[in-house]
Protein backbone atom coordinates (compact mmCIF):
# COMPACT_ATOMS: atom_id res chain seq x y z
CA UNK A 1 0.00 0.00 0.00
CA UNK A 2 2.93 2.32 0.68
CA UNK A 3 3.97 2.01 -2.94
CA UNK A 4 0.88 3.68 -4.32
CA UNK A 5 1.37 7.03 -5.96
CA UNK A 6 0.22 10.26 -4.36
CA UNK A 7 -2.46 10.89 -6.96
CA UNK A 8 -3.89 7.48 -6.47
CA UNK A 9 -3.93 8.00 -2.71
CA UNK A 10 -5.69 11.34 -3.11
CA UNK A 11 -8.29 9.87 -5.42
CA UNK A 12 -8.96 7.18 -2.90
CA UNK A 13 -9.22 9.66 -0.09
CA UNK A 14 -11.97 11.59 -1.84
CA UNK A 15 -13.69 8.36 -2.73
CA UNK A 16 -13.38 7.17 0.81
CA UNK A 17 -14.87 10.33 2.28
CA UNK A 18 -18.08 9.62 0.38
CA UNK A 19 -17.90 5.99 1.38
CA UNK A 20 -17.45 6.98 5.00
CA UNK A 21 -21.01 8.24 5.14
CA UNK A 22 -22.61 4.93 4.22
CA UNK A 23 -21.58 2.92 7.29
CA UNK A 24 -23.02 5.59 9.55
CA UNK A 25 -26.14 5.85 7.43
CA UNK A 26 -26.64 2.10 7.57
CA UNK A 27 -26.27 1.95 11.33
CA UNK A 28 -28.45 5.00 11.92
CA UNK A 29 -31.80 3.15 12.10
CA UNK A 30 -30.41 0.57 14.52
CA UNK A 31 -28.75 3.31 16.53
CA UNK A 32 -32.02 5.19 16.73
CA UNK A 33 -34.02 2.07 17.56
CA UNK A 34 -31.51 0.92 20.17
CA UNK A 35 -31.38 4.33 21.80
CA UNK A 36 -35.13 4.72 21.94
CA UNK A 37 -36.43 1.18 22.34
CA UNK A 38 -33.76 -0.14 24.67
CA UNK A 39 -32.21 2.69 26.63
CA UNK A 40 -34.98 5.26 26.26
CA UNK A 41 -37.52 2.68 27.38
CA UNK A 42 -35.44 1.65 30.36
CA UNK A 43 -35.31 5.28 31.50
CA UNK A 44 -39.02 5.63 30.77
CA UNK A 45 -39.78 2.60 32.94
CA UNK A 46 -37.55 4.04 35.65
CA UNK A 47 -39.49 7.29 35.45
CA UNK A 48 -42.87 5.54 35.74
CA UNK A 49 -41.51 3.76 38.80
CA UNK A 50 -40.98 7.13 40.49
CA UNK A 51 -44.62 8.16 40.04
CA UNK A 52 -47.96 7.03 41.40
CA UNK A 53 -49.26 5.74 38.07
CA UNK A 54 -52.22 3.44 38.42
CA UNK A 55 -54.09 2.38 35.28
CA UNK A 56 -52.43 4.94 32.99
CA UNK A 57 -48.97 6.41 33.36
CA UNK A 58 -48.80 9.89 34.83
CA UNK A 59 -45.49 11.60 35.17
CA UNK A 60 -45.82 13.38 38.49
CA UNK A 61 -42.81 12.73 40.66
CA UNK A 62 -43.62 10.65 43.72
CA UNK A 63 -40.13 9.78 44.87
CA UNK A 64 -39.26 6.29 45.92
CA UNK A 65 -42.74 5.52 47.22
CA UNK A 66 -43.11 2.50 44.92
CA UNK A 67 -39.80 1.01 45.99
CA UNK A 68 -40.77 1.45 49.60
CA UNK A 69 -44.11 -0.19 48.86
CA UNK A 70 -42.38 -3.00 47.01
CA UNK A 71 -39.85 -3.88 49.66
CA UNK A 72 -41.66 -2.83 52.83
CA UNK A 73 -45.37 -3.36 52.21
CA UNK A 74 -45.60 -6.09 49.63
CA UNK A 75 -44.95 -9.53 51.13
CA UNK A 76 -45.79 -10.99 47.74
CA UNK A 77 -42.65 -9.35 46.30
CA UNK A 78 -40.48 -10.97 48.93
CA UNK A 79 -42.17 -14.28 48.23
CA UNK A 80 -41.40 -13.79 44.53
CA UNK A 81 -37.76 -13.11 45.33
CA UNK A 82 -37.53 -16.07 47.67
CA UNK A 83 -39.09 -18.27 45.00
CA UNK A 84 -36.65 -16.97 42.43
CA UNK A 85 -33.70 -17.81 44.66
CA UNK A 86 -34.95 -21.31 45.46
CA UNK A 87 -35.83 -21.92 41.83
CA UNK A 88 -32.51 -20.55 40.52
CA UNK A 89 -30.38 -22.46 42.98
CA UNK A 90 -32.02 -25.78 42.12
CA UNK A 91 -32.38 -25.07 38.42
CA UNK A 92 -28.78 -23.97 37.98
CA UNK A 93 -27.18 -26.70 40.06
CA UNK A 94 -29.28 -29.51 38.59
CA UNK A 95 -28.70 -28.31 35.02
CA UNK A 96 -24.97 -28.16 35.64
CA UNK A 97 -24.79 -31.59 37.27
CA UNK A 98 -26.86 -33.25 34.54
CA UNK A 99 -25.16 -31.28 31.77
CA UNK A 100 -21.63 -31.95 33.00
CA UNK A 101 -22.20 -35.67 33.59
CA UNK A 102 -23.77 -36.13 30.18
CA UNK A 103 -20.93 -34.23 28.55
CA UNK A 104 -18.26 -36.30 30.30
CA UNK A 105 -19.95 -39.57 29.37
CA UNK A 106 -20.52 -38.42 25.81
CA UNK A 107 -16.86 -37.51 25.52
CA UNK A 108 -15.74 -41.16 25.84
CA UNK A 109 -15.70 -41.94 22.11
CA UNK A 110 -19.32 -42.92 22.08
CA UNK A 111 -20.87 -44.59 19.10
CA UNK A 112 -23.92 -42.64 17.89
CA UNK A 113 -22.74 -39.60 19.83
CA UNK A 114 -24.51 -37.31 17.36
CA UNK A 115 -27.81 -39.08 17.93
CA UNK A 116 -27.49 -38.83 21.71
CA UNK A 117 -26.66 -35.15 21.45
CA UNK A 118 -29.66 -34.51 19.23
CA UNK A 119 -31.93 -36.24 21.74
CA UNK A 120 -30.52 -34.39 24.76
CA UNK A 121 -30.85 -31.02 23.14
CA UNK A 122 -34.21 -31.15 21.39
CA UNK A 123 -36.25 -29.72 24.31
CA UNK A 124 -34.27 -26.51 23.78
CA UNK A 125 -36.05 -26.07 20.45
CA UNK A 126 -39.44 -26.12 22.13
CA UNK A 127 -41.23 -23.14 23.56
CA UNK A 128 -41.43 -23.05 27.35
CA UNK A 129 -45.19 -23.04 26.79
CA UNK A 130 -45.01 -26.41 25.03
CA UNK A 131 -42.67 -27.77 27.70
CA UNK A 132 -45.02 -26.49 30.38
CA UNK A 133 -48.05 -28.05 28.68
CA UNK A 134 -46.32 -31.44 28.56
CA UNK A 135 -45.23 -31.36 32.21
CA UNK A 136 -48.56 -30.02 33.36
CA UNK A 137 -50.04 -33.20 31.98
CA UNK A 138 -47.32 -35.53 33.29
CA UNK A 139 -47.59 -34.02 36.76
CA UNK A 140 -51.38 -34.01 36.69
CA UNK A 141 -52.56 -34.66 40.25
CA UNK A 142 -54.86 -37.56 39.34
CA UNK A 143 -54.03 -38.97 35.96
CA UNK A 144 -50.33 -38.20 35.74
CA UNK A 145 -47.34 -39.72 37.52
CA UNK A 146 -49.59 -40.53 40.46
CA UNK A 147 -51.74 -42.89 38.38
CA UNK A 148 -48.67 -44.38 36.70
CA UNK A 149 -46.98 -45.28 39.99
CA UNK A 150 -50.25 -46.60 41.36
CA UNK A 151 -50.57 -48.81 38.29
CA UNK A 152 -47.17 -50.33 39.02
CA UNK A 153 -48.53 -51.43 42.39
CA UNK A 154 -47.95 -48.63 44.87
CA UNK A 155 -51.64 -48.01 45.27
CA UNK A 156 -51.24 -45.54 48.13
CA UNK A 157 -48.86 -43.32 46.18
CA UNK A 158 -49.86 -39.70 45.81
CA UNK A 159 -48.13 -37.04 43.79
CA UNK A 160 -49.82 -33.65 43.95
CA UNK A 161 -46.97 -31.17 43.77
CA UNK A 162 -48.74 -29.12 41.12
CA UNK A 163 -51.55 -28.17 43.49
CA UNK A 164 -49.52 -28.09 46.69
CA UNK A 165 -48.49 -24.52 47.61
CA UNK A 166 -45.35 -25.82 49.29
CA UNK A 167 -44.22 -28.02 46.43
CA UNK A 168 -45.57 -26.43 43.25
CA UNK A 169 -42.35 -24.47 42.79
CA UNK A 170 -40.46 -27.72 42.31
CA UNK A 171 -42.64 -28.70 39.37
CA UNK A 172 -41.29 -25.63 37.60
CA UNK A 173 -37.77 -26.77 38.44
CA UNK A 174 -38.47 -30.22 36.98
CA UNK A 175 -39.75 -28.82 33.70
CA UNK A 176 -37.04 -26.16 33.42
CA UNK A 177 -34.22 -28.64 34.04
CA UNK A 178 -35.67 -30.99 31.44
CA UNK A 179 -35.69 -28.17 28.94
CA UNK A 180 -32.28 -26.63 29.60
CA UNK A 181 -29.85 -29.29 30.79
CA UNK A 182 -29.14 -30.49 27.24
CA UNK A 183 -27.97 -27.01 26.42
CA UNK A 184 -25.55 -27.03 29.35
CA UNK A 185 -24.35 -30.43 28.11
CA UNK A 186 -23.54 -28.81 24.74
CA UNK A 187 -21.58 -26.04 26.45
CA UNK A 188 -19.55 -28.49 28.54
CA UNK A 189 -18.96 -30.83 25.63
CA UNK A 190 -17.49 -27.94 23.65
CA UNK A 191 -15.36 -27.10 26.69
CA UNK A 192 -14.11 -30.67 27.04
CA UNK A 193 -13.18 -30.83 23.38
CA UNK A 194 -11.18 -27.65 23.80
CA UNK A 195 -8.93 -28.97 26.59
CA UNK A 196 -5.29 -29.36 25.66
CA UNK A 197 -4.53 -33.07 25.55
CA UNK A 198 -0.94 -32.55 26.62
CA UNK A 199 -2.17 -31.68 30.12
CA UNK A 200 -4.16 -34.90 30.33
CA UNK A 201 -1.27 -36.95 29.01
CA UNK A 202 1.07 -35.45 31.56
CA UNK A 203 -1.28 -36.45 34.34
CA UNK A 204 -1.46 -39.96 32.91
CA UNK A 205 2.27 -40.22 32.77
CA UNK A 206 2.27 -39.27 36.43
CA UNK A 207 0.07 -42.29 36.98
CA UNK A 208 -3.09 -40.47 37.99
CA UNK A 209 -6.27 -42.53 37.82
CA UNK A 210 -9.08 -41.52 35.51
CA UNK A 211 -11.50 -40.18 38.17
CA UNK A 212 -8.56 -38.33 39.67
CA UNK A 213 -7.68 -36.77 36.31
CA UNK A 214 -11.26 -35.59 35.91
CA UNK A 215 -11.41 -34.24 39.42
CA UNK A 216 -8.14 -32.41 39.56
CA UNK A 217 -7.27 -31.63 35.94
CA UNK A 218 -10.20 -31.65 33.58
CA UNK A 219 -13.03 -30.21 35.67
CA UNK A 220 -10.94 -27.34 37.06
CA UNK A 221 -9.93 -26.36 33.55
CA UNK A 222 -13.64 -26.08 32.65
CA UNK A 223 -14.01 -23.11 34.96
CA UNK A 224 -14.90 -20.65 32.18
CA UNK A 225 -17.69 -23.01 31.05
CA UNK A 226 -19.03 -23.20 34.59
CA UNK A 227 -19.04 -19.44 34.71
CA UNK A 228 -20.87 -18.98 31.40
CA UNK A 229 -23.36 -21.69 32.32
CA UNK A 230 -24.17 -20.07 35.62
CA UNK A 231 -24.55 -16.67 33.97
CA UNK A 232 -26.76 -17.94 31.15
CA UNK A 233 -28.89 -20.08 33.44
CA UNK A 234 -29.39 -17.34 35.99
CA UNK A 235 -30.35 -15.06 33.13
CA UNK A 236 -32.96 -17.61 32.02
CA UNK A 237 -34.10 -17.97 35.64
CA UNK A 238 -34.62 -14.27 36.32
CA UNK A 239 -36.64 -13.91 33.14
CA UNK A 240 -38.67 -17.07 33.81
CA UNK A 241 -42.22 -16.17 33.02
CA UNK A 242 -43.60 -18.50 30.38
CA UNK A 243 -43.10 -21.69 32.33
CA UNK A 244 -44.67 -20.31 35.49
CA UNK A 245 -47.66 -18.96 33.58
CA UNK A 246 -48.43 -22.21 31.82
CA UNK A 247 -47.66 -24.61 34.67
CA UNK A 248 -49.04 -22.90 37.76
CA UNK A 249 -50.01 -19.35 36.75
CA UNK A 250 -48.14 -18.29 39.85
CA UNK A 251 -50.37 -20.45 42.02
CA UNK A 252 -51.76 -22.16 43.93
CA UNK A 253 -52.67 -18.72 45.22
CA UNK A 254 -49.44 -16.82 44.76
CA UNK A 255 -47.23 -19.69 45.93
CA UNK A 256 -45.09 -19.81 42.77
CA UNK A 257 -45.01 -16.11 41.99
CA UNK A 258 -41.71 -14.87 40.58
CA UNK A 259 -40.54 -11.34 39.82
CA UNK A 260 -41.51 -11.68 36.15
CA UNK A 261 -45.05 -12.84 36.95
CA UNK A 262 -45.31 -10.30 39.75
CA UNK A 263 -44.45 -7.54 37.29
CA UNK A 264 -46.99 -8.83 34.78
CA UNK A 265 -49.76 -9.10 37.36
CA UNK A 266 -49.28 -5.64 38.81
CA UNK A 267 -48.67 -3.83 35.53
CA UNK A 268 -51.20 -5.56 33.33
CA UNK A 269 -53.80 -7.10 35.62
CA UNK A 270 -54.13 -4.96 38.74
CA UNK A 271 -53.48 -1.64 37.02
CA UNK A 272 -50.69 -0.61 39.33
CA UNK A 273 -48.31 0.54 36.63
CA UNK A 274 -45.86 2.32 38.90
CA UNK A 275 -45.37 -0.67 41.16
CA UNK A 276 -45.02 -2.94 38.13
CA UNK A 277 -42.44 -0.54 36.69
CA UNK A 278 -40.53 -0.50 39.96
CA UNK A 279 -40.38 -4.30 40.04
CA UNK A 280 -39.26 -4.36 36.38
CA UNK A 281 -36.54 -1.87 37.11
CA UNK A 282 -35.29 -3.90 40.06
CA UNK A 283 -35.16 -6.93 37.75
CA UNK A 284 -33.18 -4.92 35.25
CA UNK A 285 -30.67 -3.82 37.86
CA UNK A 286 -30.28 -7.39 39.09
CA UNK A 287 -29.61 -8.70 35.59
CA UNK A 288 -27.12 -5.94 34.86
CA UNK A 289 -25.29 -6.64 38.11
CA UNK A 290 -24.69 -10.16 36.84
CA UNK A 291 -24.17 -9.52 33.15
CA UNK A 292 -22.03 -6.38 33.02
CA UNK A 293 -19.01 -7.77 34.90
CA UNK A 294 -19.29 -10.99 32.90
CA UNK A 295 -19.45 -9.25 29.52
CA UNK A 296 -16.66 -6.93 30.56
CA UNK A 297 -14.32 -9.79 31.36
CA UNK A 298 -15.37 -11.72 28.24
CA UNK A 299 -14.78 -8.79 25.92
CA UNK A 300 -11.52 -7.85 27.57
CA UNK A 301 -10.44 -11.45 27.20
CA UNK A 302 -10.94 -11.37 23.43
CA UNK A 303 -9.02 -8.17 23.04
CA UNK A 304 -6.03 -9.62 24.80
CA UNK A 305 -6.15 -12.80 22.76
Amino acid sequence: MQTQSGIEAQRRRIFRRREDVFPKLVLAPTLAAGTVFIYGFILWTAWISFTNSKILPNYKWAGIAQYVALFAKEPRWWLAIRNLFVFSALFISLCIVVGLLLAIFLDQRIRLEGLFRTVYLYPMALSFIVTGAIWKWILNPNLGVERLVQAIGFTEFTFRWLVDPKLALYTIVIAAVWQSSGFVMALFLAGLRGIDNAVIQAAQVDGASLPRIYRSVIIPSLRPVFLSSVIILSHIAIKSFDLVMVLTQGGPGVATDMPATFMYSFAFRYDRLALGAASAFVMYLAVMAIIVPYLYSELRGTRNA
Binding site: M1, F22, V26, L27, T30, L31, A33, G34, F37, I38, F41, I42, T45, L102, F105, Q108, R109, V119, L121, Y122, M124, A125, L126, S127, F128, I129, V130, A133, I134, K136, W137, I138, L143, L148, Q150, W178, F183, A186, L187, I200, Q201, I213, H235, I238, F241, V246, A260, M263, Y264, A267, A280, F281, Y284, V287, M288, I291, L295, E298, L299, T302
Partner: protein
Protein backbone atom coordinates in the same frame (compact mmCIF):
# COMPACT_ATOMS: atom_id res chain seq x y z
CA UNK B 1 -7.26 -36.11 19.66
CA UNK B 2 -9.55 -39.15 19.62
CA UNK B 3 -6.62 -41.39 20.65
CA UNK B 4 -6.21 -39.49 23.85
CA UNK B 5 -9.76 -40.09 24.88
CA UNK B 6 -9.31 -43.72 24.22
CA UNK B 7 -6.28 -43.66 26.43
CA UNK B 8 -8.17 -41.85 29.13
CA UNK B 9 -10.69 -44.62 29.48
CA UNK B 10 -8.24 -46.63 27.67
CA UNK B 11 -6.06 -49.61 28.12
CA UNK B 12 -8.09 -52.77 27.90
CA UNK B 13 -8.01 -53.37 31.61
CA UNK B 14 -10.34 -55.99 33.14
CA UNK B 15 -13.01 -53.48 34.08
CA UNK B 16 -12.98 -51.83 30.67
CA UNK B 17 -15.94 -53.62 29.14
CA UNK B 18 -17.97 -53.18 32.30
CA UNK B 19 -17.27 -49.45 32.39
CA UNK B 20 -18.26 -49.11 28.74
CA UNK B 21 -21.52 -50.92 29.35
CA UNK B 22 -22.21 -48.69 32.33
CA UNK B 23 -21.55 -45.55 30.33
CA UNK B 24 -23.85 -46.64 27.52
CA UNK B 25 -26.52 -47.61 30.03
CA UNK B 26 -26.37 -44.17 31.61
CA UNK B 27 -26.48 -42.41 28.26
CA UNK B 28 -29.43 -44.53 27.22
CA UNK B 29 -31.20 -43.83 30.47
CA UNK B 30 -30.69 -40.09 29.92
CA UNK B 31 -32.02 -40.40 26.38
CA UNK B 32 -35.16 -42.05 27.72
CA UNK B 33 -35.54 -39.29 30.29
CA UNK B 34 -35.46 -36.68 27.53
CA UNK B 35 -37.66 -38.63 25.13
CA UNK B 36 -40.36 -39.93 27.42
CA UNK B 37 -42.25 -36.64 27.79
CA UNK B 38 -42.46 -36.45 24.02
CA UNK B 39 -43.62 -40.04 23.85
CA UNK B 40 -46.29 -39.35 26.48
CA UNK B 41 -47.41 -36.26 24.62
CA UNK B 42 -47.68 -38.22 21.38
CA UNK B 43 -49.62 -41.21 22.70
CA UNK B 44 -51.90 -39.03 24.79
CA UNK B 45 -52.82 -37.05 21.70
CA UNK B 46 -54.09 -40.15 19.88
CA UNK B 47 -56.04 -41.62 22.79
CA UNK B 48 -59.72 -41.20 23.52
CA UNK B 49 -60.64 -39.43 26.75
CA UNK B 50 -62.09 -42.68 28.03
CA UNK B 51 -58.79 -44.36 27.36
CA UNK B 52 -56.98 -41.57 29.23
CA UNK B 53 -59.24 -41.82 32.26
CA UNK B 54 -58.88 -45.58 32.56
CA UNK B 55 -55.25 -46.00 31.52
CA UNK B 56 -52.07 -44.32 32.68
CA UNK B 57 -49.43 -42.00 31.23
CA UNK B 58 -47.50 -44.62 29.31
CA UNK B 59 -50.20 -47.16 28.60
CA UNK B 60 -50.58 -47.54 24.85
CA UNK B 61 -53.84 -46.37 23.27
CA UNK B 62 -56.47 -49.09 22.93
CA UNK B 63 -57.84 -47.39 19.87
CA UNK B 64 -55.99 -44.80 17.88
CA UNK B 65 -57.96 -41.72 16.98
CA UNK B 66 -57.06 -38.39 15.41
CA UNK B 67 -60.14 -36.70 16.87
CA UNK B 68 -58.05 -34.77 19.38
CA UNK B 69 -55.83 -33.49 16.59
CA UNK B 70 -58.82 -32.44 14.53
CA UNK B 71 -60.32 -30.70 17.51
CA UNK B 72 -57.08 -28.96 18.54
CA UNK B 73 -56.62 -27.67 15.03
CA UNK B 74 -60.16 -26.71 14.16
CA UNK B 75 -62.63 -26.47 17.04
CA UNK B 76 -61.06 -26.46 20.50
CA UNK B 77 -62.09 -23.60 22.76
CA UNK B 78 -59.34 -21.03 23.25
CA UNK B 79 -60.92 -18.96 25.99
CA UNK B 80 -64.41 -18.27 24.69
CA UNK B 81 -63.67 -18.76 20.98
CA UNK B 82 -64.11 -22.36 19.92
CA UNK B 83 -62.14 -22.13 16.70
CA UNK B 84 -59.10 -24.32 17.34
CA UNK B 85 -55.47 -23.37 16.97
CA UNK B 86 -55.51 -23.02 13.18
CA UNK B 87 -55.92 -19.25 13.10
CA UNK B 88 -53.33 -18.70 15.82
CA UNK B 89 -50.85 -20.89 14.00
CA UNK B 90 -51.29 -18.66 10.97
CA UNK B 91 -50.95 -15.56 13.16
CA UNK B 92 -47.58 -16.89 14.28
CA UNK B 93 -46.52 -17.53 10.68
CA UNK B 94 -47.59 -14.04 9.67
CA UNK B 95 -45.56 -12.63 12.55
CA UNK B 96 -42.47 -14.82 12.25
CA UNK B 97 -41.76 -14.58 8.52
CA UNK B 98 -41.49 -10.77 8.22
CA UNK B 99 -39.83 -10.34 11.61
CA UNK B 100 -37.15 -12.93 10.82
CA UNK B 101 -36.55 -11.51 7.34
CA UNK B 102 -36.25 -7.92 8.55
CA UNK B 103 -34.09 -8.56 11.59
CA UNK B 104 -31.77 -10.87 9.66
CA UNK B 105 -31.25 -8.51 6.72
CA UNK B 106 -30.67 -5.47 8.90
CA UNK B 107 -28.45 -7.53 11.20
CA UNK B 108 -26.33 -8.65 8.23
CA UNK B 109 -25.47 -5.17 7.08
CA UNK B 110 -25.04 -3.98 10.66
CA UNK B 111 -22.57 -6.77 11.28
CA UNK B 112 -20.74 -5.78 8.11
CA UNK B 113 -20.32 -2.22 9.39
CA UNK B 114 -19.43 -3.31 12.94
CA UNK B 115 -16.68 -5.58 11.65
CA UNK B 116 -15.31 -3.97 8.49
CA UNK B 117 -16.31 -0.29 8.51
CA UNK B 118 -15.67 0.71 12.07
CA UNK B 119 -15.82 4.39 12.81
CA UNK B 120 -15.29 6.41 15.93
CA UNK B 121 -17.89 5.23 18.42
CA UNK B 122 -19.02 2.16 16.50
CA UNK B 123 -17.40 -0.24 18.97
CA UNK B 124 -18.98 1.54 21.92
CA UNK B 125 -22.32 1.43 20.17
CA UNK B 126 -21.85 -2.26 19.56
CA UNK B 127 -21.17 -2.87 23.25
CA UNK B 128 -24.35 -1.06 24.17
CA UNK B 129 -26.30 -3.03 21.62
CA UNK B 130 -24.78 -6.22 22.98
CA UNK B 131 -25.94 -5.30 26.45
CA UNK B 132 -29.38 -5.00 24.91
CA UNK B 133 -29.35 -8.76 24.31
CA UNK B 134 -29.52 -9.31 28.01
CA UNK B 135 -32.11 -6.91 29.34
CA UNK B 136 -35.09 -8.56 30.95
CA UNK B 137 -37.85 -7.52 28.59
CA UNK B 138 -40.09 -6.65 31.53
CA UNK B 139 -38.23 -3.36 31.65
CA UNK B 140 -39.48 -2.28 28.21
CA UNK B 141 -43.04 -3.65 28.31
CA UNK B 142 -44.86 -0.60 29.62
CA UNK B 143 -43.24 2.01 27.35
CA UNK B 144 -43.60 -0.37 24.42
CA UNK B 145 -47.30 -0.83 24.94
CA UNK B 146 -47.76 2.98 25.07
CA UNK B 147 -45.63 3.43 21.95
CA UNK B 148 -47.46 0.75 19.99
CA UNK B 149 -50.67 2.54 20.91
CA UNK B 150 -49.37 5.85 19.55
CA UNK B 151 -48.18 4.20 16.38
CA UNK B 152 -51.61 2.65 15.90
CA UNK B 153 -50.08 -0.81 16.09
CA UNK B 154 -51.52 -1.90 19.43
CA UNK B 155 -52.77 -5.49 19.47
CA UNK B 156 -51.77 -6.07 15.87
CA UNK B 157 -49.47 -8.49 14.10
CA UNK B 158 -47.57 -5.52 12.64
CA UNK B 159 -46.87 -4.32 16.17
CA UNK B 160 -45.45 -7.71 17.12
CA UNK B 161 -43.33 -7.74 13.96
CA UNK B 162 -41.89 -4.37 14.95
CA UNK B 163 -41.18 -5.50 18.51
CA UNK B 164 -39.53 -8.75 17.47
CA UNK B 165 -37.46 -7.05 14.77
CA UNK B 166 -36.13 -4.42 17.16
CA UNK B 167 -35.24 -6.77 19.99
CA UNK B 168 -33.84 -9.34 17.57
CA UNK B 169 -31.39 -6.87 16.05
CA UNK B 170 -28.78 -7.08 18.83
CA UNK B 171 -28.56 -10.85 18.29
CA UNK B 172 -28.47 -10.82 14.50
CA UNK B 173 -25.95 -7.96 14.45
CA UNK B 174 -23.78 -9.93 16.86
CA UNK B 175 -23.96 -13.10 14.74
CA UNK B 176 -22.93 -11.33 11.55
CA UNK B 177 -20.28 -9.20 13.19
CA UNK B 178 -18.56 -12.22 14.70
CA UNK B 179 -18.76 -14.07 11.41
CA UNK B 180 -17.40 -11.21 9.30
CA UNK B 181 -14.58 -10.47 11.72
CA UNK B 182 -12.93 -13.73 10.66
CA UNK B 183 -12.92 -12.58 7.03
CA UNK B 184 -9.62 -10.89 6.12
CA UNK B 185 -9.68 -7.11 5.75
CA UNK B 186 -7.66 -7.55 2.57
CA UNK B 187 -10.86 -8.59 0.83
CA UNK B 188 -12.37 -5.20 1.58
CA UNK B 189 -9.18 -3.41 0.55
CA UNK B 190 -9.00 -5.38 -2.67
CA UNK B 191 -12.59 -4.46 -3.40
CA UNK B 192 -11.84 -0.80 -2.82
CA UNK B 193 -8.87 -0.88 -5.15
CA UNK B 194 -11.08 -2.39 -7.79
CA UNK B 195 -13.33 0.63 -7.33
CA UNK B 196 -16.11 -1.15 -5.52
CA UNK B 197 -17.97 0.90 -2.92
CA UNK B 198 -19.47 0.11 0.44
CA UNK B 199 -22.61 -1.58 -0.86
CA UNK B 200 -20.87 -3.27 -3.78
CA UNK B 201 -18.34 -4.94 -1.51
CA UNK B 202 -21.11 -6.15 0.75
CA UNK B 203 -23.20 -7.38 -2.16
CA UNK B 204 -20.46 -8.96 -4.27
CA UNK B 205 -17.97 -10.20 -1.68
CA UNK B 206 -19.69 -10.63 1.67
CA UNK B 207 -23.19 -11.84 0.85
CA UNK B 208 -22.04 -14.74 -1.33
CA UNK B 209 -19.99 -16.19 1.54
CA UNK B 210 -22.61 -15.56 4.23
CA UNK B 211 -24.73 -18.65 3.70
CA UNK B 212 -23.91 -20.46 6.95
CA UNK B 213 -24.36 -17.43 9.18
CA UNK B 214 -27.65 -16.59 7.49
CA UNK B 215 -28.83 -20.08 8.36
CA UNK B 216 -27.71 -19.62 11.99
CA UNK B 217 -29.36 -16.21 12.30
CA UNK B 218 -32.59 -17.27 10.62
CA UNK B 219 -32.92 -20.38 12.76
CA UNK B 220 -32.16 -18.48 15.93
CA UNK B 221 -34.64 -15.71 15.16
CA UNK B 222 -37.30 -18.10 13.94
CA UNK B 223 -37.05 -20.19 17.11
CA UNK B 224 -37.00 -17.18 19.41
CA UNK B 225 -39.95 -15.44 17.80
CA UNK B 226 -42.06 -18.54 17.28
CA UNK B 227 -41.50 -19.57 20.90
CA UNK B 228 -42.00 -16.12 22.40
CA UNK B 229 -44.77 -15.77 24.91
CA UNK B 230 -44.10 -12.55 26.83
CA UNK B 231 -44.46 -10.10 23.92
CA UNK B 232 -47.31 -12.17 22.52
CA UNK B 233 -49.33 -12.07 25.71
CA UNK B 234 -48.67 -8.36 26.31
CA UNK B 235 -49.04 -6.89 22.84
CA UNK B 236 -51.43 -9.07 20.85
CA UNK B 237 -55.17 -8.75 20.46
CA UNK B 238 -57.71 -11.51 20.11
CA UNK B 239 -57.19 -11.70 16.35
CA UNK B 240 -53.39 -11.48 16.39
CA UNK B 241 -52.50 -13.83 19.25
CA UNK B 242 -49.57 -16.10 18.42
CA UNK B 243 -49.81 -19.84 18.92
CA UNK B 244 -47.95 -19.86 22.25
CA UNK B 245 -50.52 -17.56 23.81
CA UNK B 246 -53.36 -19.64 22.38
CA UNK B 247 -51.80 -22.87 23.63
CA UNK B 248 -51.45 -21.40 27.10
CA UNK B 249 -55.11 -20.40 27.02
CA UNK B 250 -56.10 -23.83 25.79
CA UNK B 251 -54.14 -25.65 28.47
CA UNK B 252 -55.32 -23.35 31.24
CA UNK B 253 -58.99 -23.16 30.28
CA UNK B 254 -60.86 -24.26 33.35
CA UNK B 255 -64.38 -24.40 31.97
CA UNK B 256 -65.88 -27.68 30.85
CA UNK B 257 -64.33 -31.11 30.82
CA UNK B 258 -60.55 -31.02 30.51
CA UNK B 259 -59.47 -32.82 27.36
CA UNK B 260 -55.85 -33.77 27.85
CA UNK B 261 -55.61 -35.40 24.45
CA UNK B 262 -56.57 -32.09 22.81
CA UNK B 263 -54.04 -30.24 24.99
CA UNK B 264 -51.28 -32.59 23.89
CA UNK B 265 -52.23 -32.44 20.22
CA UNK B 266 -52.18 -28.65 20.57
CA UNK B 267 -48.76 -28.73 22.22
CA UNK B 268 -47.37 -30.81 19.37
CA UNK B 269 -48.89 -28.47 16.79
CA UNK B 270 -47.26 -25.50 18.54
CA UNK B 271 -43.94 -27.32 18.78
CA UNK B 272 -43.71 -28.85 15.32
CA UNK B 273 -42.23 -25.91 13.36
CA UNK B 274 -39.26 -25.33 15.66
CA UNK B 275 -38.76 -29.03 16.24
CA UNK B 276 -38.69 -29.59 12.49
CA UNK B 277 -36.11 -26.83 12.03
CA UNK B 278 -34.01 -28.32 14.83
CA UNK B 279 -34.08 -31.81 13.38
CA UNK B 280 -33.17 -30.79 9.83
CA UNK B 281 -30.49 -28.30 10.86
CA UNK B 282 -29.45 -29.09 14.42
CA UNK B 283 -25.83 -28.14 13.80
CA UNK B 284 -26.76 -24.56 12.97
CA UNK B 285 -29.23 -24.42 15.81
CA UNK B 286 -26.51 -25.31 18.31
CA UNK B 287 -24.15 -22.82 16.74
CA UNK B 288 -26.72 -20.08 17.25
CA UNK B 289 -27.25 -21.10 20.85
CA UNK B 290 -23.60 -21.01 21.70
CA UNK B 291 -22.88 -17.88 19.67
CA UNK B 292 -25.67 -16.12 21.51
CA UNK B 293 -24.27 -17.10 24.86
CA UNK B 294 -20.52 -17.46 24.77
CA UNK B 295 -19.03 -14.48 23.01
CA UNK B 296 -16.25 -15.15 20.61
Amino acid sequence: MPDIHQKVVGNRAPGYVLVRILIYALLLFAAIYFLIPFFIMLITSIKTMNDIRTGNLISLPREITLDAWRKAWGSACIGVNCVGLKGYFLNSVRMVVPAVALSTMIGAINGYVFSKWRFRGSETFFSFLLLGCFIPFQVVLLPMSRTLGWLGLAQSTQGLILVHTIYGLPFTSLFFRNYYIAIPNELVEAGKIDGAGFFNIFWRIFLPISGPIFVVAIIWQMTQIWNDFLFGVCFSGSDSQPITVALNNLVNTSTGVKEYNVDMAGAIIAGIPTLFVYIVSGKYFVRGLTAGSVKK
